[in-house]
Assembly symmetry: C2
Homo-oligomer: 417 residues x 2
């Protein structure tokens, strides 16, 4: 296939991770080296930046700072949660994108995000095809939730999992120093899939983890929960550690965070309920029912930005995912997402990179198989440990100055209009 | 002075830290080497373990595991919050301690903790003197609060400060990814002294820290606070990061965590109010008043047990503090606490170890000097940075197995009665 000559644009979308910038480095550094891509643009705040013609000229950046993106958490170009309309109902945004793509001769579009972002990617790709505008669209996966379909795992998940496992081990030690009972409830991010909460099972695997783990894959039953806690309480002399996913729901689909909570319910622009406070609510209920001391801990933003405790495997794979996206596109591929494929060679983990159709991946969520969860629904089996352990291997942390992280400092020069 | 021959007991007290076990290693390993100390006991749950004759025989432990204590967070022997009565009013506990000390021929008592623990140490020391029982009593300081009097800084503080500074830098990047306003309130531990909250100024020093910092050293004024936030909001396009100490109080002495909170007020056994929720309360108030999106983050237990991000300087000093305690006692000293003295040699930080009288240190709190805080009361000056920066230098983390921490596993063999 003849090489397509034209400029490239890259955008970051959705909640950031510790390694989303590693993928950015992979895309940008690789694209800058391609002869067929004269200019590389970075969209400010994802698709919104393209619509508003706000993008940075990445050729102006120092290579040293671009390399530092590998260990810089969060989305360096800015992120967005913006849902494109159905193009058949309202083509305004798509027409505008086409206009911008034409104006800047953009022939390569790389978009880095989770489910919603792959939906955006898919819609843009299909529209450009329909409009007869040649543009190669490749999605780069990203999500600490690890819930993207058709990829063995997602960039960002392993580093968050490593943070969650390590911090849970530390909290385990802290939460049992007194000879008095304490029930400690740890809340982990995860709306519909419990992959990240399940990572606390790594701490349990090392003998310093939760007694009980509750995932959104299973319906949460308050009576059973309180019975589980009581049993663990009696067994462990009042020292209980519980890990819960923020997204656990009861049989009526009501989030546990809504129990007894009079916090205003908000909806984000994708229509998902804003979550938070699940651990706090459960700690209150346990305190009331079991009449014991409780504590709640929310890993909050910390779990998705702790680049000081990232998985080197994750960082390397995230970078490579970005690199492969550009290479695949230049080779002639479009309308796909880069995906990970696990290969075990002589018992050793290896990651291969493949392409999956955007249609397949957009808006489909991958959950933890029921058979990886124990029968009681309160813990993970060895199958999950075997799945996650290779992913968290290797230590990555930013270079330090004064023993504090030195993150990338981009110049962010606006592209000339 | 003739060497005093007898057994030693060591106890850990109060809230744990990342490095309190490093001091334990210092005391235990050093005491085990002393000819004049035939047996070394570790009290289970501090002074309570001694009263109840529950202690471990430390000679039974493997040296490898004792060395691992240097990088194991929390209190390996168990901690306690138990306030000894005034001996003139109720000598019961003291008579019991004397009985136990005599029974086990305990001639060396090392106690590791903060203000309340040094008070315990002081009372025990004075009682033994009065009773004519020769026993050398040396306190080993410990507190993430850094509020102990007569020592330049406290073991445990620097590691917590490093965690707080690093995590704040990471959150800074995460909390500004969208192009929409977000006010993020970070809550840091600290009841009456703001040393740990002030460590967020290190993040600001690196260009990725809070816009506003509120310490318990100054009276908190809600109107001024909201005006400060509004000003920062307008200046920074709605992106504001605020760090607050859990212990901030208004002019009437009311904790901010109590504002609008209908949580039951509890008192711990020292009569301090149980704190928590300050950031949550402030985020709610900001949301209501400024009508903007807010987030709150509590570092919670994480800040005091994150041994994966400890300061190597802190770990080394904490170990040495324990070692010096034993050496000073064997040399003939008693009734003192080991303290740190800072020495700057050719602009390079150096720590010396000295003894301070327990009378001096017990129940006296050291706060941040007013002149280190900016005039507006919303940030720290260079004097504070110069103070704290040398303390957080060097990286310490536990050895890893499967890329997860390998913490010490003590046998905890009960001493024969």
């Amino acid at each position: 296939m003849a090489k397509l000559v034209g400029n490239a644009i890259f955008g970051q979308s959705g909640g950031p991770t510790s390694v989303i910038n590693a993928s950015a480095a992979g895309v940008i550094i690789t694209a800058l080296k391609m002869d067929c891509i004269p200019k590389v643009y970075g969209a400010a705040n994802g698709i919104k930046g393209i619509l508003e013609e706000k993008f940075y000229d990445m050729t102006q950046e120092d290579m040293k700072e671009l390399e530092l993106l590998k260990t810089t958490p969060s989305s360096a170009l800015g992120s967005v949660r913006y849902k494109l309309a159905d193009p058949d109902k309202d083509p305004t945004d798509y027409n505008r994108l086409l206009e911008v793509f034409k104006k800047y001769d953009i022939r390569y579009f790389f978009y880095n995000g989770g489910n919603d972002s792959m939906d955006t990617c898919n819609k843009v790709s299909k529209f450009m095809q329909k409009a007869g505008y040649e543009c190669r669209v490749i999605g780069v996966p990203k999500t600490i939730d690890n819930d993207l379909y058709a990829t063995d795992h997602c960039p960002g998940y392993a580093s968050a999992a490593k943070y969650v496992a390590t911090s849970t081990m530390e909290v385990y030690h802290d939460a049992r120093v007194y000879d008095t009972p304490l029930v400690c409830v740890i809340e982990v991010m995860g709306r519909n899939a419990g992959w990240l909460t399940a990572a606390t099972a790594l701490a349990a695997y090392k003998g310093a983890g939760p007694d009980l783990i509750y995932l959104p894959e299973l319906t949460f039953d308050m009576d059973k929960f309180l019975a589980d806690v009581k049993k663990a309480y009696d067994k462990n002399n009042g020292k209980v550690i519980i890990a819960v996913s923020e997204g656990i729901k009861d049989k009526d689909g009501k989030y546990i965070s809504e129990y007894g909570s009079d916090l205003a319910k908000e909806k984000d622009s994708f229509g998902h309920a804003q979550l938070g406070g699940t651990a706090q609510v459960l700690a209150s209920i346990i305190k009331k029912e079991l009449k014991c001391k409780t504590r709640y801990i929310e890993f909050s933003l910390l779990q998705r930005c702790a680049s000081h405790l990232a998985s080197a495997t994750d960082v390397e794979e995230a970078f490579t995912a970005g690199q492969k996206a550009v290479e695949f596109a230049v080779e002639g591929h479009t309308d796909h997402m880069v995906a990970y494929e696990r290969e075990m060679k002589d018992g050793k983990y290896h990651c291969n990179y493949k392409l999956v159709n955007l249609n397949e991946v957009a808006n489909t969520e991958k959950k933890i198989p029921r058979e990886w969860i124990n029968e009681e629904g309160t813990g993970l089996k060895q199958e999950f440990i075997d799945y996650v352990l290779p992913l968290i291997q290797g230590e990555s942390c930013p270079p330090l100055e004064d023993s504090l992280p030195r993150f990338a400092k981009l110049k962010k020069v606006w592209a000339t209009k």
